[in-house]
């Protein structure tokens, strides 16, 4: 246990004695701890289906979900009646593209607008009140309106996704801009910076951490919105498959679709987080200083 010598210890054959001070688990141990509950849950699930603790024919077994998911992804060589075989990637791409487009739209409008609201009092007084008034309307409540206006097309889905992601992006950007240190703005003025330079070179980078927070919240809402939109407003994508599978009593596909959305949401969040860590490297250094 050479924690202080900086030597990477070999895997300890024996567990540390109970009550020993915990020096923080190693990566391998952490992974083990992280999958502990999910594995227990899977076992319980499998047992519940196998020993019929659950109403029969409604909840599929985990093995069934994995098998169906596999066929959904790679298809089968044999004859199949399943309309899902081999369509997973297309389905995911439909949803992914909508999220990407709606999210990009939200960021493209939300970030500049948030900067303007945060920086110019006039814009704040004119634009912020209507945003705050519209914000409490859940995006699900916009569904009928959206379908009536945009029809059962992509535009309807993009509207809902974009609107949902827009709010956290614009609100967080506004906060980030307002939190810009007055001292830094003074320093920039003293160094001869124009108002435009201050906005682009001081206020914007200073607001970036808050902007990334908004983007992460926004992408989460975008995945929620895409499922809702695809259930009601369009005829493709994970949300559509999810609802369609429910109607034809394919709970195995339902569960596989749920897990797929979860995974995609997780991956997109990690992606933004990774980008933000790179862009905000100066900030992670600050946190460790």
């Amino acid at each position: 246990m050479n924690a202080t010598t900086g030597v990477v210890p070999h895997a300890e054959p024996r567990p540390a004695p109970a009550g020993a001070p915990v020096a923080g688990p190693r990566p391998a141990q952490r992974l083990g701890l992280a999958v502990l509950l999910p594995l227990a849950f899977l076992a319980l699930w499998a047992a519940a289906v196998r020993y019929r603790w659950l109403p029969e024919g409604i909840v599929p077994s985990p093995q069934q979900v994995v098998r169906s998911w596999y066929v959904w992804i790679v298809g089968t060589t044999g004859f199949t009646l399943s309309p899902y075989a081999g369509t997973w990637l297309d389905t995911v791409l439909f949803s992914g593209r909508r999220v990407l487009q709606g999210f990009a739209l939200a960021a493209l409008v939300g970030i500049p607008l948030g900067i303007l609201i945060g920086w110019f009092r006039l814009v704040q007084n004119v634009v912020d009140p209507p945003i705050q008034m519209l914000r409490p309307i859940p995006i699900t409540a916009w569904l009928p309106f959206s379908i009536a206006v945009f029809g059962i097309y992509d535009a309807s889905a993009l509207f809902l996704i974009g609107l949902g992601a827009f709010y956290p992006i614009v609100v967080n950007t506004t906060h980030g801009v307002r939190d810009t240190s007055r001292l830094l703005i003074r320093a920039a003025r003293m160094l001869g910076a124009s108002e435009a330079t201050i906005l682009f070179k001081v206020v914007f980078p200073s607001a970036l951490p808050a902007i990334f927070t908004g983007l992460r919240l926004g992408v989460g809402i975008a995945w929620t919105a895409v499922i809702v939109a695809e259930i009601v407003a369009v005829k493709s994508g994970l949300g559509y498959v999810l609802w369609d599978a429910y109607y034809v009593s394919r709970m195995d596909i339902c569960v596989a679709a749920m897990i797929s959305v979860g995974l995609l949401g997780f991956v997109s969040d990690r992606l933004i987080h990774g980008i933000s860590r790179r862009v905000l490297r100066w900030r992670t250094l600050e946190a460790h200083a």
Binding site: S181, L183, L184, R186, A187, A188, R189, M190, L191, G192, A193, S194, T197, K201, V202, P205, S206, L208, L280, R281, W282, R283, L285, E286, A289
Partner: protein, 260 residues
């Protein structure tokens, strides 16, 4: 013949806090000659920094006028470089990018500012740290970046607002010596704010002792110590006589402030 560089004429500044009006400084008149190193010395809360902010153009006087080079000050600008008490560096920019922020924003050609930036980074002893972020530097190093980024603008007027106040004693001494070296090279007109008597006497040609709020000039003292000065100066008899005098003045004000 010396030229009047910074002139404050009957300057007062009031702040409105809620329904109250607070007079921060009142009736401040002083003249700093070109190439003069002036220190504003006073107890905390006496409005020293307000005076500097007025000269910097961050704030406008309620009464009176501030002129630099004969022109009334209306807004901040690179002709009056400011070193703040907190380093106020841009945390997302490297040391070198912080130093070149001023020249870049003024569209100076790189051929002009690159050598200057390198020179001042070297002068403040940060060669080898050009690529570091402020978060990776110590307090003293950050403040040195804060000094280099204004020296690179080659300002005639240097405004320093307790720049070494937050540093430990050893670092502060090193920074004072560094500032003396810088000033010997450039002979800028300096307005330096401090509450540290020794610091004021070591650095300045002229020390203005301020009263407690509302801040007024209590006494103007000429510090006639030979230049170039070193830290050893602080042990000389002249220095100590001056120090005793200033401490007496400050003590009067502190007692007044305590009674108020």
């Amino acid at each position: 013949m010396a030229k009047e560089k910074v002139v404050l004429d009957g300057v007062a500044k009031e702040f409105a806090t809620g329904r109250q009006r607070v007079v921060a400084v009142d009736g401040i008149s002083l003249t700093i000659q070109a190439q003069e190193f002036a220190c504003l010395l006073g107890p905390s809360g006496c409005g020293k920094s307000t005076v500097l902010n007025l000269v910097a153009g961050f704030e406008q006087p309620t009464r009176g006028q501030v002129t630099v080079n004969g022109t009334p000050v209306t807004r901040p600008g690179p002709d009056r470089a400011v070193v703040f008490q907190e380093p106020a560096l841009f945390p997302w920019l490297s040391v070198l990018d912080n130093v070149t922020f001023g020249p870049k924003t003024q569209r100076q050609p790189a051929a002009v500012y690159q050598p200057l930036a390198r020179r001042y980074v070297e002068l403040v002893g940060l060669t080898g740290f050009e690529g570091h972020f402020p978060a990776e530097l110590s307090g003293g190093m950050k403040q040195r970046v804060g000094i280099a980024r204004v020296l690179v603008l080659q300002p005639e007027v240097l405004l320093m607002d307790e720049p070494f106040g937050a540093l430990d004693a050893q670092t502060r001494t090193l920074m004072q010596e560094l500032l003396l070296r810088v000033w010997e090279q450039g002979h800028q007109t300096v307005l330096f704010i401090t509450h540290d008597v020794e610091e004021a006497l070591l650095l300045a040609d002229t020390v203005y002792v301020m009263t407690a709020r509302p801040g007024q000039i209590k006494r103007r003292l000429a510090v006639e110590l030979p230049r170039p000065r070193t830290i050893e100066e602080t042990t000389s008899a002249t220095f100590n006589a001056l120090k005793r005098e200033v401490l007496g003045l400050i003590r009067e004000e502190s007692l007044k402030a305590a009674r108020a």
